[in-house]
Symmetry: C2
Subunit: 380 residues, 2 copies
């Protein structure tokens, strides 16, 4: 029985993690759960799973929740850390949104927990810290993202020294068939209409801007210790091949499937074993009939270009990339800036930043905060 | 340094095995080689690789070869066995054509050699004997066929209990775009013109009739211990995905690549490691752009249907299937029967055979011989 601390329980990945736990009550138990402010969504889950510990984002949410349940409630980063290092917990699923999951992830690594990481911002913003801690404590980070899970599965039984390149597939997002000039007037609703996957709002916007793929490239760099020149992105509109690894003998291993996040979530929880997922649709290639692949266009998708540039520059640049993107996407979702301003704001933030080599946690957190402020309050 | 006994050195797989050995002289040494009658092709190879032992098919070839080289020469099945069990040999590559490789393979297993098996007829004709010996002696059979190598690679690091189904891809062969009525007048030359792979004559004809895929289904059944109902074949004209495994969690692992048999050959020799293959073309999915998949049509391809039926019936039926096919293909290549008579002769041989459960080696060899005679001398 694996006992799970689930950070980000009411988000898309969190809810699907609970689906997986429901499917295998003999294998998994929800030990504790953290969520932001959505008490309405969380309450039935708390009543169903009866977690030993509960974390919410702030005092106000705590007060609201205390009226409903008779159990102590933790808050904020301190709360996330407390459940992540709890002796009873085997696996920490980090599915919070944005870089808020970073301190808890570092503490969970130090406590030698297995980490299922759905929060790519943690690695983008502080990959060097997270991976050096993971190495130091002999902790394995199990990716939950479908692309990184595909690479992880493709590396099963293989030696990292035999990797020739990673090939990450990109569906192209909601705007893949639009030219740059067509993007001027697009709405939030347009951007949220992803062709293949049903996901949270932030990641769906990131897919439309291709920043999601950029963040994945940086995440892959850290998770698999592969240089940026050996990480390729190709457009694959059907999202059937979730990603690939080419080895030195030119053999390419790939993981394929229907778009169901329960597959990579469960794999991270069962690795190195697998378990049934009987309700998940089987892949029927005869029905799909055709798979398409196209070269990725870095001019059409400047967010991907900027992600590669920030990744190659290293140091604090990816912290700035991530923070600027998170804040710009939020502004877009709030209707305060047009879609194309997301990339402009990121570019500006990167240009205005003096790179710091090997930043420590407090430096990262202050750069993160400073970048967000700049993006939000300099609305020009 | 792995010392290799290569059975079938002058065939397509044999020559490419020698290419792999040439590429990695620090890793592999050709200890001994066996070939049929092609002295002209063999002589420069003997002079280049200087094998300690040489086997030829018959006395006449031995006499011819003795005029050229000053070294004892072995013959026939006895010779194949002698090199296969030689103490100095680490790996036996069975790349002979047809079921002639069976006795040597069984002896090599008993001598606990690693077997790289390119000869699918060995498993088709006597899978139960080969696999029970392999299990008994703890010997691993490493497949060289691109499809089985793809499955083997997809199973790397996985548990066999987690297999949901095997998905073998078929290019469709030279006649994939012809209807059955178009096959009446096809020539040997037409049949030998394979769209994707350059291979020996027998396997190319088998590809055109789809019997090759049928033999692969039976081979996969034995190699991976998977029931026939869990082995699917799909038409995939580009042959980019070499085959796949679907697991119980609906995750599908696949191996992809350009059509170069050196990849699976080398993998069988280096497993579980990999080595460079710098001259092999990298897979560029952006260039290929589109992959197609179609349902396999058992009416269009009766040889595949018969292979499934013979496999499910079990016992001596697959021996008959294989022997009738080998002989009928030979008759077609000799210009003695039309293409569509291949399937008619196989069907007739299967119908006329009384199945024997669990046949031993001598029974198999006599059924094999009897079937060939019937196919050859009853030309109606």
């Amino acid at each position: 029985m694996k006992k799970i601390a689930l950070l980000g329980a009411t988000g898309s990945i969190g809810l699907q993690t609970l689906d997986v736990i429901r499917l295998h009550p003999e294998e998994f138990e929800l030990h504790s759960m953290a969520f932001g402010r959505n008490v309405e969504k969380a309450l039935p889950l708390i009543r169903e799973f009866k977690p030993k510990k509960i974390v919410v984002q702030d005092e106000q949410t705590k007060v609201t929740l205390e009226k409903e349940i008779d159990q102590p409630i933790l808050t904020g980063t301190g709360g996330l850390i407390e459940v992540s290092v709890d002796d009873a917990v085997d696996v920490v699923v980090n599915a919070v949104m944005g870089s808020v999951g970073l301190p808890a992830t570092l503490k969970a690594i130090q406590a030698k927990k297995t980490i299922a990481i759905a929060n790519k911002e943690t690695l983008v913003t502080a990959g060097h810290l997270v991976m050096s801690e993971a190495k130091k404590h002999g902790v394995e980070l199990l990716p939950v993202d479908s692309e990184h899970s595909a690479i992880y599965q493709s590396l099963n039984g293989e030696s990292k020294k035999d990797i020739h390149k990673l090939i990450i597939t990109a569906s192209g997002g909601s705007f893949r068939d639009k030219k740059r000039e067509d993007l001027v007037g697009v709405t939030v609703e347009d951007a949220l209409n992803h062709p293949n996957w049903s996901m949270g709002a932030k990641i769906t916007i990131d897919s439309a801007s291709m920043m999601n793929k950029g963040l994945e490239v940086i995440e892959a760099h850290w998770l698999f210790d592969v240089p940026y020149d050996q990480i390729h992105v190709i457009l694959h509109r059907e999202s059937v091949i979730h990603s690939m690894v080419e080895f030195v003998d030119r053999s390419v291993m790939a993981q394929l499937g229907t778009p169901d996040m329960k597959v990579p979530i469960q794999y991270a929880l069962t690795y190195p074993e697998r378990l049934d997922l009987p309700m998940t649709k089987q892949l029927e290639l005869e029905e799909i009939a055709t798979l398409h692949f196209e070269k990725m266009d870095m001019v059409r998708f400047p967010c991907l270009r900027m992600a590669y540039e920030a990744g190659r520059a290293g140091g604090s640049m990816t912290t700035v990339l991530n923070a600027a993107n998170e804040e710009a996407v939020q502004l877009f979702l709030e209707g305060k800036i047009p879609f194309l301003d997301i990339e402009r704001k990121i570019e500006k933030a990167l240009e205005g930043h003096d790179r710091i080599h090997n930043p420590d946690l407090s430096t990262i957190l202050s750069i993160d905060e400073e970048t967000r402020k700049q993006v939000r309050f300099h609305l020009n």
